[in-house]
């Protein structure tokens, strides 16, 4: 069994965040956790190549990275491709998902990776890939790699893959029919009886539910209110100092606009892949309306334009992620005494 493994800068032994921009390197044999992976895959398995790339490089050059990985796997005659596991590292998860998907699609060989639930890679790729639930702790590495190895074996021998709960992967969210012992009638009456008597029951299908968000009361006096701008259009200062990813951003930035009457295109850039960014790049006020709000402030229509605006990228940002970002942003703005937010979305 010839295995090719993908790792980020950290697990690949280059270093931590400061090496996140590292361009891809191809090493012979197993590296870091790849050695354990090889062991767990058992007799006859060999990690023939390891591709290591920095998380930032990866996320900013997904297509090129995927093409490179596919080429390496093809040339190595790989039977199996493994990425990570990535745990909660978001950029790593997105990269791992992208390269696994490319290998699976273009080479038709099994690909397996591992991530924690909050990793944006899960929501993005769970439908197409087998992503083992690694949880958040790197301490579980051995256990996670075992499960990945077991799944890999089944995929390679084309055995039927069991349920997500049995095999430890994130449900693809696809439905498969099977015969069960009880008729629908029996299941129906049993379920409604439980529901009616307050006993627990397990629905055979669960709709995606968005809990109601209680609406804060209206602003009593706008002329005394501090208004902040928050945006998911990806408008960031030139140079993107916080390295907000254009896709599935896992962080947000807060940028000083005190004394600024108007945002100029040359001071900003846009980190977002989901829309044609040229209009906003030309004039960022089209997404972050500092000019108009400053006027309203001077006219006394609003009390104050908050001296910072908040930005992130909303592109294919999975719910698990954006819920966290939203909470963090809201927390910060509350601390800074903001009364209301104009949220501008692409």
């Amino acid at each position: 069994m010839r295995v090719v493994h993908y790792l980020n800068q950290f697990f690949g032994g280059l270093g931590a965040e400061e090496f996140a921009g590292a361009t891809p390197e191809v090493r012979e044999g197993a590296v870091g956790p790849g050695r354990l992976l090889e062991q767990l895959l058992g007799e006859g398995a060999k990690v023939v190549k390891t591709v290591v790339a920095g998380d930032n490089y990866a996320v900013e050059n997904l297509d090129a990275l995927a093409a490179l990985v596919v080429k390496e796997v093809r040339e190595a005659g790989g039977d199996l491709f493994v990425a990570g596991p990535c745990f909660q590292a978001g950029r790593y998860g997105v990269a791992a998902g992208a390269v696994c998907a490319a290998v699976q699609r273009e080479l038709g060989i099994p690909a397996v990776t591992g991530m924690g639930l909050e990793n944006p890679g899960v929501d993005l790729y769970r439908r197409d890939l087998y992503i083992v639930d690694s949880g958040g702790s790197v301490a579980a590495m051995r256990e996670v790699l075992s499960r990945m190895a077991a799944l890999a074996h089944k995929l390679l021998s084309k055995q039927e893959i069991g349920s997500p709960a049995e095999e430890g992967y994130f449900a693809h969210g696809l439905l498969r029919d099977a015969f069960v012992d009880k008729t629908a009638a029996e299941r129906l009456v049993e379920m409604v009886y439980a529901k009616a008597t307050g006993a627990p029951y397990e629905s055979e299908l669960t709709p995606t539910v968005f809990p109601a968000i209680p609406a804060p009361p209206p602003i009593a006096d706008l002329s005394r209110a501090r208004i902040a701008i928050v945006t998911d259009t990806g408008v960031v200062p030139k140079g993107n100092p916080d390295k907000i990813a254009p896709i599935a951003a896992t962080n947000w930035g807060s940028y000083d606009i005190s004394g600024v009457d108007d945002l100029r295109g040359e001071d900003f850039e846009v980190s977002h892949r989901g829309y044609d960014t040229r209009y906003v790049t030309e004039d960022p006020d089209r997404a972050v309306p500092v000019d108009a709000l400053r006027e309203f402030e001077k006219q006394g229509v609003i009390g104050k334009l908050h001296d910072r605006f908040v930005s992130t990228s909303g592109m294919v940002n999975p719910l698990a992620n954006s819920r966290r970002l939203g909470r963090e942003i809201a927390q910060r703005l509350k601390e800074e005494g903001v009364d209301a937010v104009v949220l501008v979305s692409a």
Binding site: T183, V192, V209
Partner: protein, 419 residues
Amino acid sequence: MRLTLAIHPIEELRFGEATRLDGTTLAIDQEELRRLLLADGGLESVDLEVVRPGERCRFGAVFDVVEPRAKEPADGADFPGILGPLRLAGRGTTHVLRGAAVSVIQDGSAFGRVIEMSGAAGEASPYSRLHHLVVVPHPRASLPRRALMRALRVASLKAAVYLAKAALGQEASTYEVYECGGPAESATPGVPRLAYIGQIHSFQMVAEPDEPIFYGSNTIGMAPAALHPNEWLDGAIVSSYFNLGVETYFYQNHPIINELYRWQEEGKVLLTGTVATMAASDNRDRERNSMIAAALAKWNLAADAVVLTKYGGGAPHADMGLTARYCEELGIRTVVQVSDMSTDRSAESALLFNYPEVDAIVNVGRGDTLQWVAPEVERVIAASAGAAASLASLERLTAGSVCGVTGQQGLSRLRSFVY
């Protein structure tokens, strides 16, 4: 209101000199039955065949399957509003030839289903364990669709009643009693009051003016109606001409109504009644029907909880979902039975309604992903030589195309799992 089913088990069906029930053998006078079926004039001829359980036989396309039943004459009418005068169904004694069925074939249609009597596909359906009188009507060439379909419908019911009449005057093997006090029966703490809301037609499919569904009427213009559970079991409702996964056999042997009766028997629930409703073709009717059905369940049936099923294809899920939501709003707990209508098999797209309170769902899947290799057959019965040849050469059978596997009336053992 008490219904007694006098059960006469059948272990053999055969043709004979005279129609006669001898123990568990029913002999059928073909000529007499044929004359009866041709009497209306709609049929040019009719073929009759007997098929035994487990035979290497396949027949289709199936128009309907009906259990042979005949009422004690004093106790009501057989299929009131269609064959007989309008009498309330569900009372008195009805004789049942248990283990037998009348299966009527129609000329192949896009949604034609088969009955498979052997193999893994056969095992998955209760129909393979029955003795069938297979009726192949040949309607007059010139008949317009509505007359053609009506001829099939009437023939199916006439044949079923004719066979069962052989049991009149005979001692049954067992008696099944169906009795429930209805909404007036007083509640017991800890014993929930349950009702069933079942769609009996979907206006996706335009019913013929004389298409009998509900006491002989085609349901157009009807508001949801409260029925005693026994009415479903005793001929008030038959399947529509064009349906997906419904046979009259499983109205007569309604899995959900039977299950509710079982739970009542064990003292766990009180069955207070049922509502028959329709899936609408526009939003206003959908709202109206859903609102009325929920109100009936609350104020007329005093239900604490309700089981809901739909009829037809995908859109009727919306009616069912809305009805359930209105029930929940009135404090009635609900469970619904859905089929997977997603085109991409994704769990997210599978549900055609999204109300947080309608969170108890039984999912019987889609029926086209589960397949069997079609068993070799020695005998094929169809409406024409061409249809017979197609049936004979079938290589694969999907769960949805075999009668009795994916039904909408609660008999399905299929379940959809998220992977």
